[in-house]
């Protein structure tokens, strides 16, 4: 048992550290550090820089621009990216639809979509959830009827993150209503400019516009936009959902948040001394740090195990990482809000644009919105209750 990294791994870590800290613009990294929302331009800029370096799509097959990195390298890459406050590659493109296309789509679709997906010429969004289909995703009802060389799509998607930026949407649609729920679903790629698509924003409790409803009214989609086989979409969706194995715990991001909390708590005064000197506060933070350290070690154990696992096989321990990682992320946003105390109260969204001075310290404005926003992390990607169901079945055999 040796928990130190090899010289090669350390050299790689330094390379990653240098890359993220020197190549990703400071202005973008500062926004991530403060929890400010990124513009589409920020995301695309960052993605292009990574892509030019060959580091945007490391999880893809090598033939399509991926890296044959060891699990430790992937871990270090993600850790350094998060510690540097560099934005992750656009998740819809890189972790979600890219690997599905690379794995299951025709060569024609691969050539058409993969390079543009890697370079963010196409910005994707994900059309999975529906008003009646949340955790029970397979009950989805958006219908795609085959008519000649087209599908005609009718229905509604919801919680579609960043649909307002998206050029294309990858959708789960029902192509067979008679079959068993899971066996009548297909995976369809749809151009957002197609007539009949309407996007309606949903404002979330943090005041932000991250998610949307997307309506489909007789939307005609060329049949060649079907990924893989008709009615096999559920398999591809499961592949997609289980894909993000390491990094799902966001340990690096949480470590960066701890550092940020310590920085800000040294600036905020409480009872005549910096908040960071308050033993109650110290203990509260230390208590989260312990769980985070344990999670980091647990993640490294999963990473080490993966080296021995068959490539592409899913490790149910990733559910465990998501479960614990999401709770820690939420606890840290909670604490960050407590750090700014009364200055968590003013609602200051869009103040920048209005050129008015901030109320209280500038770093305070995003604390409460981030706290509200992060309630989502235990809901999306399979809620924590669903993760418990998965662990219960796959690991405990209950």
């Amino acid at each position: 048992m040796d928990l130190s990294f090899t010289d090669e791994e350390l050299a790689f870590r330094d390379e990653a550290r240098r890359f993220f800290r020197t190549q990703i613009p400071d202005s973008i990294r500062a926004k991530v550090a403060e929890g400010e929302g990124l513009t589409k331009d920020d995301m695309v800029t960052s993605q292009r820089i990574m892509n030019q370096h060959g580091w945007a799509t490391v999880n893809w097959p090598v033939a399509w621009g991926g890296k044959d990195w060891s699990p430790v390298q992937v871990y270090l890459y993600q850790d350094e990216m998060q510690l540097a406050h560099a934005p992750s590659p656009i998740a819809f493109n890189v972790s979600m639809v890219g690997p599905v296309i690379a794995q299951f789509a025709s060569d024609e679709l691969k050539r058409r979509f993969l390079p543009a997906t890697a370079s963010a010429e196409i910005f994707w969004c994900q059309g999975f959830s529906e008003p009646g289909s949340g955790s029970d995703l397979a009950s989805l009802r958006t219908r795609a009827e085959r008519k000649g060389d087209k599908y005609v799509v009718n229905g509604q998607k919801i919680w579609t993150t960043l649909a307002q930026y998206a050029d294309w949407i990858f959708c789960l649609v029902r192509t067979d209503t008679a079959a068993k729920q899971q066996e009548g679903i297909s995976f369809l790629l749809i151009d957002m400019k197609t007539p009949g698509i309407t996007v309606r924003p949903i404002v979330t409790i943090d005041g932000g516009r991250e998610v949307n409803e997307v309506f489909f009214d007789n939307v005609e989609v060329p049949a060649e936009n079907l990924v893989g086989q008709e009615n096999k979409g559920w398999d591809y969706a499961k592949f997609l959902l289980g894909n993000e194995r390491t990094g799902i715990a966001r340990v690096g991001m949480s470590k960066a948040k701890v550092a940020r909390i310590k920085e800000l708590a040294a600036l905020e005064m409480s009872g005549g001394r910096p908040l960071i000197a308050d033993p109650r506060f110290q203990e509260k933070l230390a208590s989260i740090e312990v769980e985070l350290k344990a999670l980091e070690m647990t993640q490294l154990r999963v990473v080490a195990d993966e080296r021995k696992m068959e490539k592409g096989k899913q490790n149910p321990a990733s559910s465990l990482l998501k479960l614990k990682g999401s709770v820690i992320q939420q606890q840290l946003t909670e604490l960050l809000m407590e750090v700014v105390g009364p200055y968590a109260m003013p609602y200051q969204r869009d103040f920048d644009g209005r050129n008015e001075p901030a109320i209280g310290p500038e770093y305070a404005s995003e604390a409460a919105p981030m706290y509200f926003n992060y309630r989502k992390v235990s809901i999306y990607g399979g809620s924590n209750e669903i993760q418990r169901n998965i662990i219960s079945k796959a690991i405990l055999g209950l």
Binding site: M1, D2, L3, S4, F5, T6, E9, V72, L83, K255, A256, V258, A259, K262, E263, P279, Q282, E283, L285, A286, S287, E289, V290, E291, L292, K293, A294, L295, M297, T298, L300, R301, A304, A317, L320, L323, K324, E385, R388, N389, I391, S392, I395, L396, G397, L398
Partner: protein
Amino acid sequence: MDFDLTEEQRLLKDSVDRLIADKYQFAQRKQYQTETGGWSEKLWGEYAEMGLLGLPFEETLGGFGGGPVETMIVMEAFGRGLILEPYFATVILAGGLLRRAGSDALRGALVPRITSGKLKLAFAHLERHSRYDLGDVSTTARKDGSSYVLDGAKSVVLHGDCADQVLVTARIAGAQRDRDGVGLFLVDAATPGFSRRGYPTQDGLRAAEITLSGVRVGGDGVLSVNALPAIEHVVDEAIAALCAEAVGTMQVMHDTTLDYMKTRKQFGRTIGSFQVLQHRSVDMLVALEQARSMAMFAAVMAADENPIERRRAIAAAKIQIGKSGRHIGQEAVQIHGGIGMTMEYSVGHSFKRMTVIDQLYGDADTHLAILARLGGLFGKAA
């Protein structure tokens, strides 16, 4: 980075796992408890034969030459079996003190007798007022010619009732809580003025109250006149060992509870089919894996010579162990229902040992205060 065991470590693990599986079933343990001293002399002999009593000592003295990872392997297995023998007192605590504070001559004299199973030791430091502060010592050591004379009382000395010799802290100089001036002495239990009262602890193991009145210790019994740094390092290593033991105990509680959920039927179905219990079982697993991770971290950091970094890591591990252990123990009893409350069933015994481990060398809250004072784990420039 790898979490794999070496071939030698794997062999050690296989043999100690087999020993526990063969010799430490619940009924067997009950039997050992009724023997003189409350543990098994015969098994003590087997530990000696397997080299376990020499685990941390140098090979030139007949030891095994093991480090913290070897200790982790053995203690985790012992935690599964809830072993009763004075292993922690003799090999981990006293053995550690001999390694870090004992002279070559003293080690040369004692280690072969420890490894062969002929000598049992204990570490007497706790006093009525000292709680978890190892430097809070009011027992006095007065210099008299070439020897010292010890006066005072030591409390809850683990396996102090069966120890042939006891390592005792006593103040040579300074005020009661000064870091300097704490001496470490080896006292034979037969020395005039040494008296003790043995009793069982909540976990079924043994301890003793020890009184020292005018106990004379010759020059060769003086290990150190300023022993606190060495003692603190040994206790950090001992905490790492306890963390590993606790993981074994938690693992058994989790496994036993899971088996029970798969077999116990109520309302015509196994209770493991109820989602409310499934989710609680998952939370137990998460707590267990977090604890296992921190026990490994503790093992790796236990030998670190930087006392601050070591302290942070060990404190963090003990916090996680305390939290996870309490959670898993309470849930194991709750999910078992009535049977979990009885002395007739194993889970309660594991729960009791786990509870004692939390109280040993600082509970979770105590270590949280320490870690908080040290500024946590992740630096500002993380």
